[in-house]
Amino acid sequence: MEDAIIRVQGLRTQFGDQVIHDNLDLEVRRGEILGIVGGSGTGKSVLLRTIIGLNRPAAGRIEVFGQDLGQATPEERLAVEQRWGVLFQDGALFSSLTVAQNIEVPMKEHLGMPARLRDEIAALKIAMVGLPPEAGSKYPSELSGGMRKRAGLARSLALDPDLIFLDEPTAGLDPIGAANFDQLIRRLQVNLGLTVFMVTHDLDSLHAICDRIAVLAEKRVMVIGTMADMLRHEHPWLQEYFHGPRARAAQPQKEELLEEAST
């Protein structure tokens, strides 16, 4: 039995009468990159938001780091929240703060670090996500979309989490930027021992960096497995998704990336 970091059981989410997930089960293992795919409206982002507590599930149990979040006291919840980081689609940086100050927010709020140490660690994170030093003093509105995502990633890494949630990390990036971002995620995951929960539509990302892929359909996780499993599966939607015209262009490239990341 592998070590599960996230364990979702019998999850049901609904908005009014509209049921998004029904009896959904999912396990995310320690140290893996899990990609969540599914058609539009299958509730990929809703699942992410439900796990991190922004939506209330109608039924079911969500365990993160072995802590049942439905039963957790506010203190227990906070302890769990400090061990994960979240990257929203467009970075969700606080617009009144500079990039460096954004990264320092969690350090200041939760750990009460002195300013000098915060500045040092913020500089380190800025370098780790591949931003130039002068980006630290820029405001989010002065950055390009790709830089905002990197800055958002740096903020989600501020407390050195064990687990990060990424909501469509490569959406809106050009192919080169997207490939670089994939590589960055892989490198950080390898070097920092992160577990990554990633909602994505990007077939290149799925090929390049995901260890396992979970497919959301029919209000639950229909299939979960490696890319090879996906390619073999016979469900028509999967066939179309992974064998369609766009899928063929996305060649398996994971090994190359792994090599690069480890050098």
């Binding site: 400090q82 500079t98 670090m113 140490l117 913020a122 500089a123 370098a127 780790m128 002068e134 509105s141």
Partner: protein, 376 residues
């Protein structure tokens, strides 16, 4: 929660041995940082950082260790790690590779300079905005003239829709405020005038102030807050959404589609709102006179006829279309000046209300001088 710790001891052969252990992670670095900064290795004494007892190391902890090593080496002494596992080694290398100071905040200019800079920028902004307002006014008038020549181009449905929104829907709030102001004026005026035994003149006070100034000014201010801001926010969010750009590429003139119906709607409805406010203000005054001063409604209306000429009424109403035009123009202009960020919608909305009210009061003052000069 597991703690991280640091012990310093004298090692073999005159070295300084620093033993690190426990959890060297983000939760513990604040304390460890203080401890490490206090530490001053004696010159020339080689330092050994032993990580043998470390159970957990993350980038924050690794940064502290790396930084200590770096400072020791920078001082000219020798410093080395000991007891490294491959994982810690990777983490330390990772940190070393990313050791690059970053800018945290944009540089602050000196205080006096900053004040001067803001003053200068503010002045230039005001000038720039005035220029844009004049340019926009010109565009708007051209567009209006075009519509008057070809009335079929006037968009009737949006016009009626906006009239309902800015006019009809504003009736309750405008009415309530005017009514209350009438009541307050009657009460305050009466207590002052009673001292001279001239309570009856409270009717003159109410009639002149409500009809000439208060009703229209309050209505304009409420409408600027209610509809001027709505215009900016509506048009602004369309700009953010690129809807306005889409409109231009489809050959639609935003001036004609968005601005003109709003301006006309307000120009038509504000005089009506002002009339409504006049009536409710007078009614509030009448009610208060009756209840508090025993001036019967009949007497009140009789005094009213004596106190004011028809011109007092027209002085208020004439101003309404001008105020309406200013409020709507500023509201639409600020909406179109929104840049493509959600933040600027808020900024421009605030600006639209402030500028709208400011212009209304300036023009009201100008009207006062004008009416005094022509003697009404």
């Amino acid at each position: 929660m597991a703690e991280g710790w640091l012990k310093s001891a004298a090692g073999e052969g005159g070295t300084m041995l620093l033993q690190a252990g426990g959890h060297w992670d983000a939760r513990n670095v604040t304390r460890l940082d203080l401890q490490l900064r206090d530490l001053t290795p004696t010159d020339d004494m080689p330092v050994v950082l032993d990580l043998g007892a470390v159970e957990r190391l993350d980038t924050a902890g690794a940064w502290l260790l790396y930084r200590t090593l770096k400072t020791c080496r920078a001082g000219g002494g020798r410093a080395d790690f000991a007891g490294l596992t491959p994982a810690y080694q990777t983490m330390l290398e990772q940190v070393a590779a990313n050791d690059q100071p970053a800018e945290i905040e944009p540089p602050h200019p000196a205080a006096l300079l900053a004040v001067l800079e803001r003053l200068g920028r503010g002045a230039v902004d005001v000038g720039e905005e005035a220029k844009q307002q004049v340019a926009f006014l010109g565009l708007l008038l051209v567009c209006l003239a075009g519509s008057l020549r070809h009335p079929s181009r006037l968009r009737l449905v949006p016009l009626v829709y906006h009239m309902e929104k800015v006019g009809f829907n504003a009736l309750p709030i405008v009415g309530l405020i005017s009514f209350l102001i009438g009541v307050v004026l009657a009460y305050q005026g009466a207590t002052q005038l009673q001292r001279f035994g001239a309570e009856i003149f409270v009717v003159n006070l109410i009639a002149v102030s409500v009809l000439r100034e208060i009703a229209i000014l309050l209505t304009a201010i409420v409408v600027a807050g209610r509809s001027g801001s709505a215009f900016t926010a509506e048009i602004g969010s369309m700009v953010v959404n690129e809807e306005v750009d889409a409109m231009r590429t489809l050959g639609l003139d935003p001036m004609e589609v968005l601005v003109l119906p709003r301006v006309l709607a307000l120009v038509i409805t504000l005089p009506l709102l002002a009339f409504f406010a006049d009536m409710l203000g007078l009614f509030g005054g009448m009610l208060m006179c009756w209840l508090a001063l025993d001036i019967s409604p009949g007497l009140y209306l009789e005094r009213l006829q004596d106190a004011v000429s028809l011109w007092s009424f027209w002085v208020g109403i004439i101003k309404a279309p001008f105020f309406a035009f200013l409020i709507a123009m500023v509201g639409c202009l600020e909406g179109l000046r929104v840049t493509r960020s959600a933040e600027s919608v808020g900024q421009q909305t605030t600006r639209s209300v402030v500028t709208g009210i400011f212009l209304v009061i300036v023009v009201d003052a100008m009207f006062s001088i004008f009416f005094a000069a022509v003697g009404v």
